[in-house]
Point group: D2
Chain length 135, copies 4
């Protein structure tokens, strides 16, 4: 299963001539969602089943700036999964040169439709096992 | 009652060094919502009462580019209101020099919580009268 | 040569549960740039050669709302090209059902690095001919 | 000197009904820039003088979700300033209830127009002193 690859969009750049730092946080989301979908868990399907995975925290460290015309590659890894929490790490590199652009993390919990915390281990044990193994 | 005034944000610029054209569409929304709120109709309150005013169409003509550091002034006007539809026009100028940046329009209808078209004239006659007069 | 296809991103939705209307303007840009790149004209390469194609105007008509989980297909066509101007039209449909989401247009001119209007017919005749034929 | 106060915009919400987490990173930027401007350092003026303050890293911890219709208050503090680096912390609260929404940090360096690191202490000693005192 592969990394998430996407082109830089013009509207993602800022007047400094590089991608605005806030957009990497959005790319993390894109890559995280693609990562789960590849393993059989489409986020819109999870929501339909009453499971949401909101973001509790994010961090990013910017090493070099992606430019318009670049294609970026985003590697996603599960850092940790428990019955009630999930965390990911991200590595954004240039798809052609391999140069490191940004690293990051995101922390999440599992909630139901009423935003009440729930145990993914009970509610969807296969999800829990899938991502335990992928660690 | 006044125009809507706001600063250009850094993240709204693109690598051309000016505000990305898509952001004016967002500014129209900000200004339109402020315009209605000033007249007693806060959009979140309307939504709570089961009235939404989705966008059916937009247009913008770009005359000159707003830059980071600029403050823009947005004049909102009601073009037309009927029982079921509403349209606005916008004029974005530089707040210091008065230079014209962008003109635009947006077309809307009134729908209820189930996205079914509804008559604002029946559902909220004071809204209808307020904006008829303001025309 | 094909249409531009992309998934709806979570961060592109709004509290109405559908894609915020301003994002279609950004999708037009993505699709327009992909359209030109497919025909041999990558926009970053054009910029390096001193040609920019800024947006003079946009319009969009919203027919139905794209949702998170959807994949959209965007058909781009050249409406008109002259020595100094270029205009496109767009049709956004659901990639699975074909349902029409949005139609739109954008108008552009050609400028050099100093934002001075220039003739693409003189500066890059192959570009002009390519897009004349594609009309 | 005061906190930075702003309304939540409709286009900043997502289908979960709350502000998309990436937008807090943009709000940090807005608030940081307003903080510096209030103390006499407008960021566009700094850029004109050949000083840029790019973001090296950001973090955010989300405590509760801001909603459309809310007004948020953002308190900015300087965590640390050296000759070559600067870091801020942020606290976003609801302006009416005081409820904590998000905390965060950002790390920056000083660079010149060629993106080469520079000493703010040498290049603009008054800036350095101003923000040392404000710590």
């Amino acid at each position: 299963m592969g990394d998430y690859i996407r082109k830089v969009q013009y509207y993602e750049t800022d007047k400094m001539g590089i991608v605005h730092h806030s957009n990497y946080i959005r790319w993390f989301e894109e890559a995280r969602i693609a990562y789960m979908a590849e393993r059989g868990y489409e986020y819109n399907k999870l929501e339909e089943k009453g499971i949401m995975i909101p973001v509790l925290g994010v961090s990013a460290v910017y090493k070099s700036g992606a430019k318009y015309g670049d294609t970026v590659r985003i590697r996603v890894q599960i850092n940790k999964i428990t019955a009630v929490k999930l965390s990911f790490s991200y590595e954004v590199t240039d798809n052609d040169t391999g140069e490191l652009r940004t690293t990051g993390t995101s922390d999440h919990c599992f909630v139901d439709n009423d935003f009440k915390p729930c145990s993914i281990k009970k509610k969807m044990p296969d999800f829990y096992e899938e991502f335990c193994e992928n660690k």
